[in-house]
């Protein structure tokens, strides 16, 4: 049987089966009017979901058969840089060719531009599968996402010129935001955009750094369009189609994802097209890009974790010590159990988050219509709030989980896992970037905390608390209701906190609770349709309950000691 990273993974198949995107899809496919007439357009919901299965199966086969077997080679060879020219490694080029042949590019673009019109929730699964096969390749496949931002905000002429090339896989993309002095603080971007009043054309000058897939043919670039401005309000977003004025000065020598070239780019009077409105570059368009990218990186970390778990699972069957496979030793079994449950919990959270993002995108189009009903507006607002809360949560949860799982997998391997010959060595290096780029974990906490303090999770928690579950899951339900209450009191305590420094300091302890609680409820919900999820839910709830209570105690106490110790010890 051929290797297939979709069909060999019953948990992704389960998530696809459970994925309820009927509401979003009805809007997205405009009531299925194109079904049967426009090639590839679904006739109904079942047809659409069957199409998604096809896309996942093909991606699973390409990744299992063609990409994964060359992952070590892609890492070893890495991207090259010579005389100002960046080239992908041979395995990366072959993978891109396979994706092109399989028609997997243009994932979320509308059909009018040759795209597959996939929802975010399916795209997340695709990214997970790619990342399990070769995590560096995810940046090449994942950055086609800039096409969706272009689709949403660029002018018609630009869209017609650029987007079909993305759908055919002829071009790849890059998000060009970071500079040497503007990392987490993007408001400090200094690359200049100047408007030639006579021709109405824009030109860019400046240097960008740490640009993932910076060799891309089409980039979106954040630049300062308002002379004399110093903050985010002076920034606009531009589209650049690579030409001779774009110089790649170097690529970085990185710890992991080596097949993905990270470039330093110099713009020398480079022609650019303004995307959307001036001054909205960071606040609207970069944030839009970043939200998509955060989901993609969450999926990337999940894919790496899946790979790491499988490596540990396999190794622990084959490695004999004390006369038996090491997996039967409780200390090793504990690691494996923790990994397995963590991966499934995160996959549930990613699917839930993507579903709300799909709804948000679907209603975003609805509310831009002339006549909008109050119900539609309310639903839109609800979806926005949940998407904006869950996105940083899942980015934080998944990337920290991915690091933890790779650490645990290496522990299962023992000494050999530290060696090049074993895949976990590569996965361990690759996963490390995920909780750094597209906003560090610390920044995800900042993004989530305001929403959590606004009680944005309450509608979900109330719905889940009121729902019914299998009888034999009553103890878990009771436990989660209790934990929901504990979490609620933590929110109250932090909300009532008048010392801003304390709120910031203890924010991560509240976000941890929220992540655990949501994952717990999602796994319990799964037990309504799956017998095997009962063990997952039980194990998960049992492991998070005491930790959540401890974290609540931390938040409620909001001890001043660390804040007082800081100036003395760290300064």
């Amino acid at each position: 049987m051929s290797e297939n990273f979709f069909t060999d993974n019953p948990d992704i198949a389960f998530r696809l089966a459970q994925l309820n995107i009927e509401e979003a899809l009805k809007l997205k496919e405009k009531g299925y009017v194109d079904g049967g007439s426009v090639p590839g357009a679904p006739r109904n919901y079942a047809d659409a979901k069957d199409n998604y299965r096809i896309v996942l199966e093909v991606m699973g086969e390409v990744c299992g058969e063609r990409v994964a077997p060359r992952a070590a080679e892609a890492d070893e060879e890495g991207a090259h840089f010579e005389d100002g020219v960046v080239t992908y490694s041979a395995p990366t080029l072959d993978a891109i060719e396979a994706f092109r042949q399989a028609g997997l590019f243009g994932a979320m673009l509308p059909r009018e531009y040759g795209g597959l019109n996939l929802p975010e929730s399916i795209y997340s699964m695709l990214v997970e599968i790619v990342s399990r096969a070769e995590s560096g390749l995810m940046t090449v496949y994942g950055l086609q996402e800039i096409a969706d931002m272009i689709e949403e905000y660029a002018d018609e002429e630009t869209k017609a010129r650029v987007l079909p090339k993305f759908s055919r896989g002829e071009v790849s993309g890059a998000m060009v935001l970071t500079e040497a002095d503007a990392g987490s603080d993007l408001g400090a971007v200094a690359t200049r955009a100047t408007l030639d009043e006579a021709t109405g054309k824009w030109h860019l000058n400046g240097v960008k750094r740490f640009i993932t897939n910076g060799l891309a043919d089409v980039s979106v670039v954040l630049a300062r369009s308002e002379e004399g401005s110093t903050d985010a309000r002076g920034l606009s977003m531009f589209l650049v189609e690579k030409d001779d004025t774009v110089k790649i000065r170097r690529i970085e020598h990185k710890m992991g994802i080596k097949s993905s070239p990270t470039c330093e780019i110099q713009y020398n009077n480079t022609p650019a097209v303004l995307i959307g409105k001036r001054r909205f570059g960071l606040m609207r368009y970069a944030m839009n890009l970043m939200n998509g990218a955060r989901l993609a990186v969450a999926a990337q970390a999940l894919g790496i974790a899946e790979a790491a778990y499988r490596e540990a699972d396999q190794y622990s069957r084959e490695r004999i010590q004390f006369g038996k496979p090491i997996r039967v030793l409780p200390a090793v079994g504990r690691l494996l159990l923790s990994m397995r449950v963590d991966v499934e919990a995160t996959r549930a959270l990613l699917a839930e988050t993507s579903t709300w993002v799909d709804l948000w995108k679907a209603y975003e189009r609805e509310v831009s219509a002339d006549e909008v009903s109050p119900e539609t507006r309310a639903r839109h607002k609800h979806c926005v709030a949940l998407a904006e809360t869950l996105t940083p949560m899942v980015k934080y949860c998944s990337t920290e989980m991915g690091n933890r799982v790779c650490y645990q997998s290496m522990q299962v391997h023992g000494g050999v896992g530290y060696m090049r010959e074993f895949n976990i060595e590569r996965l361990f290096r690759d996963v490390r970037i995920t909780n750094i780029y597209e906003g560090t974990s610390q920044l995800q906490v900042v993004a989530a905390i305001g929403k959590l303090l606004n009680r944005s999770l309450d509608p979900l928690l109330a719905e889940w608390s009121a729902a019914s579950y299998p009888e034999d899951m009553a103890p878990e339900k009771a436990m989660l209701i209790e934990l929901t209450d504990v979490y609620g009191r933590s929110v109250d305590a932090l909300k009532a906190q008048s010392d801003r420094a304390k709120v910031d300091y203890y924010a991560c302890d509240l976000v941890d609770q929220a992540v655990w609680l949501v994952c717990g409820w999602l796994l319990l919900r799964d037990t309504n349709v799956s017998e095997s999820k009962k063990s997952v839910a039980r194990a998960y709830v049992a492991s998070i309950a005491p930790r959540l209570r401890a974290q609540a105690e931390v938040v409620t106490a909001a001890n001043s000691v660390p804040l007082e110790a800081f100036p003395i010890l760290v300064g």
């Binding site: 090639p39 590839g40 006739r43 109904n44 093909v58 086969e61 042949q101 399989a102 028609g103 597959l116």
Partner: protein
């Protein structure tokens, strides 16, 4: 590449049990295979033949038609061919074809290719992983009265009249030039077969022979009658034609069991058992002795 004209290819493919992944309960005590215990797959080298045909089409234009002879469920590999880029597919199925050996199979395929008529190239995998005879391709060429190039690995040149091909041989390779039409059998090292294209698959997933309508309607109840489904498929050119023995004008005595002189004399059930192990001392002498033994036993060298 040299100037050519649009070339029309016919690709012969076969659905086979996945014998490369035989598991415990597949072999019966008397040495025959329990076919149902193995998944049915696209014969691997037939995928290489299809890939070669698609690459030729991309170079010169033209069409790719895929034929298989087999039971109704063999339509699955015809769909896979469509997903990869084939223009037309045909299923040869008839109870009268059952029990065919390579002679009867190549006869039936010859009749079908003649019915198609307009072709420049016939491509097939070198051999199928169930029978492993490698006979059907060459026999078909003989019956069609056209030249054949076996073990084709690479198209070196295409002109409007000739094809130049590199053949993979045990001892190296050979380049031959041949007038078209020609039949080629393709080896696994020829290329990497492309994956199914998701856009093509979404558009053609319902492609079917009428023999499959009942199963499709079970999955897609929106098609209330066979007629409704048939009309939907016909409008989108998704009806897979089924050719019977009569349709291809085959002579009864030449097809199926009646047309198959091959008789299996005896099947040996070989059980591979691990022999006793041998310890080699980790020194110069031990290694030299091992190398000498491997050479003597024709394992290396």
């Amino acid at each position: 590449m040299t100037e050519s004209r649009p070339l029309h290819s016919v690709v012969l493919v076969k659905q086979v049990p996945d014998t490369h992944n035989v598991t415990g309960d597949v072999m019966t005590k008397d040495g025959t295979m329990n076919r149902n215990a193995l998944p049915a797959i696209f014969n691997p080298e037939d995928l290489n033949a299809l890939e070669m045909a698609l690459q030729i089409k991309e170079r010169t234009g033209g069409t790719v038609t895929v034929i298989t002879m087999g039971p109704p469920k063999a339509a699955a590999i015809l769909r896979e061919s469509l997903f990869r880029g084939a223009d037309k597919v045909v299923l040869l199925t008839d109870r009268k074809f059952a029990g065919a050996d390579t002679l009867a199979t190549s006869y039936a395929l010859t009749c079908a290719i003649r019915k198609i008529g307009d072709y420049d190239l016939v491509l097939a995998g070198r051999q199928a992983i169930d029978g492993d005879t490698a006979q059907v391709g060459p026999q078909t060429a003989e019956k069609l009265g056209i030249p054949q190039i076996t073990y084709a690995e690479q198209i070196v040149e295409l002109t409007s009249t000739h094809v130049t091909v590199q053949r993979a041989l045990d001892s190296g390779s050979e380049i031959v030039r041949c007038k078209m039409p020609v039949l080629m059998t393709v080896v696994g090292s020829a290329n990497t077969p492309r994956p199914a294209n998701v856009r093509r698959q979404m558009e053609r997933k319902l492609a079917a022979t009428p023999l499959e309508y009942a199963a499709i309607r079970k999955d897609w109840p929106e098609f209330e009658t066979d007629e409704a489904l048939d009309a939907y498929l016909a409008a989108r050119d998704l009806r897979i034609p089924v050719w019977s023995a009569e349709a291809i004008g085959a002579t009864e005595g030449s097809i199926g069991l009646a047309g198959s002189p091959t008789q299996v004399h005896k099947v040996n059930f070989v059980v591979l058992e691990s022999a006793e192990s041998k310890t080699i001392t980790p020194d110069q002498e031990g290694i030299a002795a091992m190398v000498a033994e491997l050479v003597r036993e024709y394992i290396v060298g």
